[in-house]
Amino acid sequence: MISLDIHKSLRAEGGVMDLRVNIYIEKGEWVTLYGPSGVGKTSTLRMLAGLMKPDEGSISVSDTPWFDSAKRVNLKPGLRNIGYVFQDFALFPNMTVRQNLEYARKKGGNGNLLNVVLEMIELGELQDQKPASLSGGQKQRVALARALVQEPKVLLLDEPLSALDPAMRMKLQEYLGKVHREFELTTLLVSHDISEISRLSDTVLVMEKGRVVKKGKPSEVFFKQQLSGKFKFTGKVISIEKADLMYVVHVLVQEQAVRVIATAEEVTDLKPGDQVMVASKAFNPLLYKLDI
């Protein structure tokens, strides 16, 4: 469906970065771009949307050329039929929630869609409020709803959940998964969050310095060892302390800090801030029902 083969020189930290990306995305597929900041993930998204012009290459969607440097084709952003959710949400402050959606609605589009979307994303009660009075999670939902009423074929999400707390993230991941399926969208996400990626995407592309260096299912890409145990959590290393012969590594899993004992060998290439997987397989887990 989406075939993108582009090249652009970008000004980046410490000189010029050469962005060369060649990807193909199936219809209905959910693909995530993963990698550190400044490797060209957002730029790739912006070039697909037509907000940034590649130096050379081609982009075509459903066999329609959107960009072709050789043939001087460069379709305007407004004609690409894309739903784009920005990192800062980009809600129009002068309009209410409903007006934001009405402004975005396609001319001659499905008249009832706006109400369907409002209901589906549970925004009915907020529809007459201005964005300034909404919480981060609510703004995020409005931004998603606004992208959907454009009746896009392609949904582009630029770190849409990075500003939210973990509980809100979980909830919104549900919404995202749901709209992807129900609207039969082809979705391209930029994300740093491994658990989010594992939960939502079919394919993950790992980017480094302007190149896609790894591609595959999230489980293949992130969890090298295939373990038999079912306990796998991803987290971030907070600190590494030496305790006698062993090391104690504090890992942040979701919003909980966990202590893990590690050998000197295991911590050699670990440093605070690293993403790690915590897995366990040699015990029988206990289950307690929680009354919340």
């Binding site: 949307a49 037509g50 907000l51 305007k76 952003p77 407004g78 004609l79 690409r80 894309i82 784009y84 920005f86 990192q87 800062d88 980009a90 129009f92 402050p93 002068n94 402004y103 975005a104 396609k106 001319k107 606004r146 454009q150």
Partner: protein, 223 residues
């Protein structure tokens, strides 16, 4: 008591402000979006009236638009407008003279809006013009208001330019600031007082309205 100069001052300020809105919005928008190399040149030209003595502007205006000059005679012949010692000439000079007061607030207001707002609108298939009217301008209302009021107030306060190119023709180019000067010269202090007090009060009201509206005081009061 001749109300002519006060009436003429208000008429000039209104006409100038109206034209400046039409010129300032596209110009401010263009400056906020362009990356062209001519941008600094245009920015400089727009800001020149801030530092130049008004007499310099008036002098060149006379030179360029004088009836015996090429451009002046051409405009006179083809458009039937004489720009020197006339009201239209006063308006044109005032537009140039107050240009920075309209363009700069709009330029900085639009520049301070997140890019993503305008990009989101473009992605919805809206034209740049629609985006400016529906998204850009409504979100920089304070800047827009500041531009309008300052242009208006600045035009009321003009003296040098008006004197150079308008002369002092009653009911045509004799605005209040010039009338005051002449009344003082003629030792008519009472009339000078009246005109001056009127301008003083007008300037106070106009400027205070900016601070009241932009400071949100009125909203608080009305709530």
């Amino acid at each position: 008591m001749d109300w002519g100069p006060l009436y003429l001052t208000l008429k000039l300020a209104l006409a100038t402000t109206f034209i400046l809105v039409l010129v300032g919005i596209p110009l401010g928008y263009w400056l906020s979006r362009t990356t062209s190399w001519v941008k600094p040149v245009i920015e400089t030209l727009v800001s020149m009236p801030l530092v130049l003595p008004p007499t310099v502007l008036g002098f060149y205006f006379l030179i360029v638009f004088g009836p015996e000059q090429f451009l002046g005679s051409w405009i006179d012949k083809w458009l039937g407008i004489r720009l020197v010692f006339s009201f239209p000439g006063l308006v044109l000079a005032s537009v140039i003279y107050s240009l920075p007061f309209m363009v700069q607030p709009i330029h900085s207001g639009l520049s301070s809006l997140p890019n993503s707002l305008l990009e989101a609108s473009l992605l919805m298939g809206k034209s740049k013009w629609q985006t400016l009217i529906k998204v850009g301008l409504p979100n920089i209302k304070p800047a827009l208001l500041t531009g309008i009021i300052l242009s208006f107030a600045h035009t009321i306060g003009e003296f040098g330019v008006v004197l150079m190119i308008g002369g002092s023709i009653p009911d045509k180019t004799r605005v209040a600031s010039i009338a005051i000067y002449e009344e003082v010269e003629a030792l008519n202090y009472t009339t000078a007082h009246t005109y001056s007090l009127f301008l003083l009060v007008l300037a106070f009201i106009v400027l205070m309205s900016v601070y009241l509206i932009n400071g949100g005081y009125l909203k608080r009061f009305w709530r």
